[in-house]
Symmetry: C2
Subunit: 408 residues, 2 copies
């Protein structure tokens, strides 16, 4: 049986970033750049004032005090037309270009208008400041970026800050990796839709909606295929439909049970098995395969039917695949470290990913495994915000021991 | 000038959870429950096998070895019809109900079929196991939850795990707080749309797209109102439209500049100022007001025009408001602690929220302020993944000092 690390490598080998497409900037959030982006402007585009105030010549403020003639007013969107000389000031707005000759800007709060003129030239301003330095309150042209600079690299995840930066450099459209499509299929004769009332031996489909929600939160387009019963015909029909998507996620049908027809149906559709079973708890009977055709590839995950197993397998194997398909460079699950807050015993040789509560405390991060009753316990999962990794081996972990934790 | 804490309290006093509405479960992800949810089922609904294997009577396995007659096969979705007696076994699938008389289940891996029968009764099975305990591999009815148990409380954020749990208890629709609507308006004569080329004195609208993306990621419905010029008429028209949304976010127009008409236009629309200016860097000139009408309330944020100020104010004030409107109980920004990785000097009395890189390292979390050149530097912001809080006062923070950090 292969290890989690080896299984993740095998998955990531098969998950190749999807082709690029051009989208509107407003649709690009959460996607990954498929091009380097260079700036078409200097930023700031001019020497600019970073406060509302008065542009001055430095020598006038040698003592910190001056009374100056206001020669011009530069509003946002204006450009100064007059050069500053000694004894003169230009009223200037935050962000506006400084006039030629300007050596500093004094904040409006350190000034008083004189001669009763309150809204600009002609008029005089009295300045009194105890901190004055040449260059103050001016941001020089191109201080943040120069025209031609590469400001974002292909492979960058587009967050709100990147949206702002892309807008600043004029990219109303951007080239991004296409959003992965994910088909979700629950299997099993015992499974019924969640709007029905279970009869004897029946349980509602909780995995389908949960896996769909996970894929949707991972920036994918989700197609919920509903439930396939354990018949060749039903499975074939659903699998054929599911193989239209980049990724087909099945839940149930891959353990050692008599009616586990899934692997056979997948093989009949040319999906080749890459691995079956991983040395992990819960989630051991995970199945992973690939369909390779001229021009496209499909990834197929057969997840165990129990909800907690299913979620753990999604986090360990499906999410990294989706991240890499979407063009992310760092696709592995994000690991943090935390100290165990109460003793916890594990048994068996498999590494256990236990639902847990990760807490930010003033003294550092702690993690507390939630009480749970086996891999069907969605209620325990709803209390958790992370998975704590307990390495395999029969032992008791003591409070204060450091553990790897994967936030959910 | 009020403190960040006081300003956050004033904002949260005004942000009342929006009314509840019923939505399809598939649309509920990221929203907040507006009702307590009780289970309509026991989970598991029966004593069930947690492995594929053979249900047995405990005394038959006293030595760990037995050869038993297979009396029945219980597939997923089946219910057992025959009671187990000594000398007998029932073949059983993971998740299926155990038969009456069953005291344990032996995994199929620890069994061998005899008499050449491979698919069920009539037939015999030989068992050999070195670890056997009565009750093994059976999960008792209602171990995870009982019918009538409250499984989720109003105020719970619906994540994929909650989607799974809601599906399990039959909630194909749920009552959630309505998604906040947010209108975003950039103001200023110097601002042009991002698909245009800036002329002298002009800069592109980066705040509008960025703030829209932030609100969208905060689960809001966003209306981008574009750009208002600094005229009474343009501002009035856009503000009137913006006040249709639960929250109006303006960027620019609230500093001490001559053309800052925004407060007057808002007052004319009965938006009452709650506060103006907060003792924070960047972001000091933030304006917050409220429109109260019979049956509804609007929150209006006037953010500084500089992108970094704008983002900091969104994180400190707008996001908590949006979270509380959406029904979240804990609306404050999520704070973490990290050790400073290089020395950093700050000046002035205001607390500074500095764009920074938060890193998870084996030795703990570190934070490194990014180099930035003032509050217009979106490029620095794109390098950052967090805001590091440097308390006010002229001083140099040394490597290893612990700081509060707010992930972006």
């Amino acid at each position: 049986m292969i290890s989690v690390d080896d299984a993740q490598c095998l998955v990531l080998e098969q998950a190749i970033a999807l082709p690029a497409e051009r989208v509107e900037l407003s649709e690009a959030i959460g996607l990954v750049l498929a091009e380097d982006v260079t700036s078409d402007i200097d930023s700031p585009p001019w020497d600019k004032s970073i406060v509302d105030g008065f542009a001055v010549v430095a020598t006038d403020l040698a003592t910190g005090k001056a009374e100056l003639e206001i020669i011009e007013e530069v509003m946002a969107g204006d450009v100064p037309r007059r050069q500053l000389s000694r004894g003169q000031a230009t009223r200037i707005m935050t962000g506006a270009p400084t006039p030629v000759g300007c050596e500093a800007v004094v904040m409006v709060e350190q000034t008083i208008m004189v001669e009763g003129v309150s809204d600009g030239p002609p008029g005089r301003v009295r300045i009194q400041t105890d901190k004055f330095a040449a260059g103050q309150n001016i941001l020089r042209r191109a201080a943040a970026m120069k025209r031609g600079d590469k400001v974002l690299a292909a492979g960058t995840l587009i967050r709100p800050s990147e949206i702002g930066l892309l807008a600043e450099v004029g990219r109303s459209q951007v080239l991004v990796h296409r959003r992965p499509t994910v088909a979700v299929l629950a299997t099993g004769n015992e499974i019924i839709a969640c709007d029905r009332n279970p009869g004897p031996g029946q349980i509602r489909n909780s995995n389908g909606p949960m896996l769909g929600a996970l894929a949707k939160r991972a920036e994918c387009i989700v197609r919920d295929l509903g439930i396939a019963s354990d018949t060749q015909e039903s499975l074939e029909r659903h699998v054929r439909e599911g193989l239209q998507a980049d990724v087909l996620v099945l839940s149930g049908g891959v353990s050692a049970g008599v009616l586990d027809l899934v692997p056979g149906v997948l093989a009949a559709h040319d999906v080749e098995q890459v691995f079956y079973k991983v040395n992990v708890k819960p989630g051991k009977p995970i199945w992973f395969g690939v369909l390779n055709r001229e021009g496209f590839r499909r990834l197929v995950f057969g997840l165990p039917g129990n909800p907690v197993s299913s979620l753990v397998c999604f986090e360990l194997f499906v999410r990294p695949a989706l991240r890499q398909l979407a063009g992310n460079r760092d696709a592995q699950p994000g690991r943090q470290w935390a100290r165990l807050s109460k003793s916890h015993s594990v048994r068996g040789t498999r590494d256990t990913y236990h639902p847990a509560i990760l807490r930010e405390e003033d003294a550092g991060r702690t993690v507390e495994p939630v009480a749970w009753r086996g891999s069907a316990d969605l209620r325990a999962l709803a209390e958790a915000n992370s998975l704590a990794l307990f390495p395999g081996g029969d032992r008791t972990f003591e409070p204060g021991e450091q553990l790897a934790v994967y936030p959910l």
